[in-house]
């Protein structure tokens, strides 16, 4: 197990009196896949938004790779290598799959403010973009408008776009939500492949996905950490069974 790459201390966020996330301590070790699970409304997505700075925390601190990122802007956090995905697939609908990936690649090259240059300079990224699309099985769809791709492939495109940034750490918000069975398997395979050399924190509802994939699991309920540990430990915890599995049956 590596060192801690992402650490939150006493993370709290309230919305006009409603405390969505309440004093959460979270430590993610480098190189692991860490899952954040919990029933609906447990504060998982809010937690994600706090960690990636899409929401400012009311209290608490966040450190990434030894740096205090508590006061940073979301774009700055992304530049440090902490890149998130979204619950609803986030692709650029009217751009082709290739262009989607290129948008991420061109950011690293810089010069994206050059409004006087022809977009032909972006062709230098085509080879790398194709490679990334091949990695996620989308090579045949490079020219397809992203909006026209089926749902599972949109998620794959999203991962390819995220990987284009070569992030140190990925935050995946329900990567398999709303997917057909064979698509779920494909995404799980994909996550297994891309984890090499990276850290992944994911929100996931599908427990069978979590079981086979994640090294550490944090269970949230009502904005608090209920339990933490590997799947075997967490799934035996009676409180977790009551709070999470219980409500999943209901």
């Amino acid at each position: 197990m590596g060192d801690i790459i992402l650490e939150a201390r006493g993370l709290t966020r309230d919305f006009l009196g409603f405390v969505a996330v309440n004093g959460v301590d979270l430590s993610v070790r480098a190189g692991t896949i860490h899952a954040l699970i919990g029933p609906n409304g447990a504060g998982k997505t809010t937690c994600f938004n706090l960690l990636t700075k899409f929401l400012p925390p009311s209290k608490g601190s966040i450190h990434f790779n030894g740096r205090d990122i508590t006061a940073m802007k979301p774009a700055a956090v992304a530049r440090l290598g902490l890149v998130r995905s979204f619950q609803i697939s986030a692709v650029f609908g009217h751009l082709s799959a290739l262009e989607n990936v290129r948008v991420a690649l061109q950011r690293q090259r810089g010069g994206s403010y050059d409004f006087w240059r022809s977009e032909r300079v972006l062709q230098q990224f085509d080879a790398r973009a194709m490679q990334l699309l091949e990695d996620v099985g989308l090579a045949d769809h490079a020219g397809t408008e992203a909006a026209l791709l089926p749902y599972g492939r949109k998620r794959a495109l999203e991962i390819a776009t995220t990987l284009a940034l070569e992030p140190k750490m990925l935050l995946l918000d329900e990567p398999t939500a709303g997917m057909a069975h064979e698509d779920v398997d494909r995404i799980v395979q994909l996550i297994r492949r891309v984890r090499v050399g990276r850290t992944i924190l994911m929100v996931e509802h599908n427990l069978s996905v979590v079981e086979g994939l994640c090294d550490t699991i944090t269970v949230l309920t009502r904005g608090r950490v209920l339990a933490q540990g590997d799947y075997a430990t967490v799934s035996k915890n009676p409180e977790v069974i009551a709070a999470y599995l219980g409500s999943a049956d209901a």
């Binding site: 990636t52 899409f54 802007k73 979301p74 774009a75 700055a76 992304a78 530049r79 890149v83 998130r84 995905s85 979204f86 986030a90 692709v91 650029f92 609908g93 009217h94 751009l95 262009e99 290129r102 948008v103 991420a104 061109q106 950011r107 010069g111 994206s112 403010y113 050059d114 409004f115 006087w116 240059r117 022809s118 977009e119 032909r120 300079v121 972006l122 776009t161 995220t162 940034l165």
Partner: protein, 310 residues
């Protein structure tokens, strides 16, 4: 050529041919108005069509560009090209200010802030001494281009306006099809995602807004020189509304759409003028038909039909 796709090159050549031949058939002053309004609409389209920002205050840049160009030409005695650049500079400065105040808000709130700021500019123009209040700035001399070519004749003026329009059009086209433009389109499609990829999207929107306002100022300034007058009409919010109508009618997010929209709307204003307020009624009816039947606008639908990006 200039990064045009094949279909766009053909469209561009057709447009150039029409610009070159039409003054021998139609009244040049009418055509100059079409070109000024077209440049204004193209500038507006950069925001609504490619960044997804709905500005409801573009009359401020267009109208103030007109006032300052007129003032520079009449009171400071600058040559026409410098006067027009003054108009563009005013557009840029106002655009910077507007964007700085409005860019952090989304959707309707953004539109309302731009509208409110534009109304403030309107009342400034109504009260400020140099604008001449209700009378506007009249009898603005067209002057000599570069101090040499007299623009008194409509044909000389026409070629100047055509030149300004083409340069503005090509510049906007380049912006849309640049690495910068690619990021703008990404912001239009999904701003949170663009942020999560590390783009400071506010900066991109700010730059796009200033570019758009600058060209709107240039368009307004050019129009003031053509007609020799700068009035309150061009800073009024109805002008902001017209440019929305023109862009939607022609096809938002297409490079030729605003030009076609400008041609249609200015022609209606011109040739239906004898029917008085029926112009507005007709415009309204056409707008409703457009929204109901061809939502992507004239060029948008045409492009969809031919499966081309125009």
């Amino acid at each position: 050529m200039f990064g045009f796709s094949r279909s766009q090159s053909i469209g561009f050549v057709i447009m150039l041919a029409l610009i070159a031949t039409s003054p021998f058939v139609l009244y040049p002053v009418f055509l100059m108005k079409v070109l000024c309004v077209a440049l204004f609409a193209c500038a507006f389209n950069l925001l609504i069509g490619y960044v997804g920002l709905m500005s409801f205050g573009h009359a401020a840049f267009y109208g103030m560009g007109g006032y300052l160009t007129a003032h520079a030409a009449k009171e400071w005695g600058l040559t026409p090209e410098l006067s027009i650049l003054v108009g563009g500079a005013v557009g840029a400065v106002l655009g910077l200010l507007f964007a700085w105040l409005a860019i952090r808000r989304q959707g309707l709130y953004f539109a309302m802030i731009t509208l409110a700021l534009a109304q403030m500019v309107y009342f400034f123009c109504l009260e400020a001494p140099f604008t001449g209040g209700e009378n506007g700035i009249q009898q603005v001399p067209r002057g000599n281009l570069f101090g040499i070519i007299p623009l008194g004749s409509d044909m000389n003026m026409y070629w100047t306006v055509a030149g300004i329009f083409i340069i503005g059009f090509l510049l906007l086209h380049r912006v849309v099809y640049s690495p910068f433009g690619q990021v703008l389109k990404a912001i239009r499609e999904n701003e949170p995602r663009a942020i999560s990829l590390g783009y400071r999207t506010d900066d991109y929107k700010q730059i796009a807004f200033v570019l758009s306002a600058t060209l709107a100022g240039i368009a307004g300034g050019t129009k003031a020189l053509v007609f020799g007058i700068a009035t309150l009409t061009d800073v009024n919010f109805t002008t902001s509304g017209d440019v929305v109508l023109i862009t939607l009618l022609g096809g938002l997010g297409t490079i030729f759409g605003p030009v076609v929209g400008a041609l249609v709307v200015v022609s209606m204003e011109n040739y239906l003028a004898q029917f008085g307020s029926w112009v507005t009624v007709t415009q309204g009816a056409i707008f409703v038909v457009c929204v109901l039947l061809f939502r992507r606008g004239v060029i948008g639908e045409l492009g969809g039909l031919l499966k081309l990006s125009l």
